[in-house]
Symmetry: C2
DNA sequence: ACTACTTATTCAACGGATTGCGCAGCAGAC
DNA sequence: GTCTGCTGCGCAATCCGTTGAATAAGTAGT
């Protein structure tokens, strides 16, 4: 269980609604920890039951009401406790790589098409991350040190994937000609 | 659902027992798709029920009996069907990165220690992968093209992580001095 | 006027994944 | 002679995560 900790980290930074969190999970942390809004709302409910967070109701006009969640001292303690114990190793789940592993059965042309689509997505993300990173850099890298490092992880990850994609592309293209 | 496909890919390559598969998940594919033996045995049971695989009992002396699983034509069809439809985007779950994101609360020294441990693990994996890759290369890169590409993904992933780790290390070390 | 998208939250159902436990025998270390 | 570790399989409980749907009101486009 550790979505809770990801949420607590984000709340440590600032008060937020479930909706806000869901969006934040789409950037920086999101690349490395993905969660749907249902999951987040559920987890916020549990965290509230355990007094790790509190919320206040914010009525809005035009938009639906929202609940702004704040981390409590108890939540902060839990976070610190978690930070102290060793992290479980990183897991990845890359379906496309499994496809490559089973590539002898696949249609090379179709794989190449999919590779291109995925590369486009990665390139887009890379651009977004790089923009955010240089923005943080301009605002002062020391204040945003941890967010900056988080983004760097995302950037290096995209770059590594794209590099791999290049290798795959040339290898598959050669296959395609010789076959 | 896609552990099933990862298993089918491995079985496509060769007949294997649940135990064998569990070990294979620790290498190449494993870095990108992790699964415990319980999960694998369970999935093999289901695949068998659905006639996607069959097995034969192998009594062994010294060691416990084993079941060697083979992919069936029906399983192969399912695999091909899956290969044709678009892969769901890669997900990562990196607890240590969440720790960095919440780094202002953490003890920098402890983070540095953990970073070193994780780096050691990554370096070990990198070495294993590189050995396997060069072994495949010697045996003829074309026969093992897909396994080779799979390994390359693992290698690039380790390298990217280690590069990131270096950035984190220098940044945290600077923090540690100034604080 | 109709459609589509965004903000905002929540429920219900199912399936996938993790954790903990148990069995069983052999090999090698200390 | 005991203990650890590897090979090999399996069950049960619980938790995590995904999918699908519902509600509700505003805004922007065609």
């Amino acid at each position: 269980m550790s979505l809770r900790h990801a949420i607590l980290v984000l709340l440590e930074d600032q008060e937020a609604s479930g909706y806000d969190l869901a969006r934040e999970f789409a950037n920086s942390i999101g690349l490395v920890w993905n969660a749907t809004h249902q999951q987040i709302y559920l987890e916020l409910g549990k965290l509230n039951d355990q007094q790790m967070v509190t919320f206040r109701h914010i009525p809005q006009d035009g938009k639906p009401d929202k609940k702004l969640y704040q981390i409590t001292d108890k939540g902060r303690e839990e976070l610190i406790r978690w930070l102290r114990k060793p992290a479980s190793p990183a897991r990845i789940r890359d379906a496309f790589m499994v496809k490559i592993a089973g590539g002898n059965l696949a249609d090379t042309t179709a794989l190449l098409r999919e590779l291109d689509e995925l590369s486009d997505m990665r390139r887009e993300r890379l651009a977004t991350f790089q923009e955010l990173a240089s923005k943080l850099d301009r605002e002062g890298r020391d204040q945003h040190l941890y967010s900056y490092l988080t983004l760097r992880r995302g950037i290096l990850d995209q770059q590594a994937w794209l590099e791999w994609a290049e290798e795959v592309r040339t290898a598959l293209a050669r296959e395609n000609v010789s076959a």
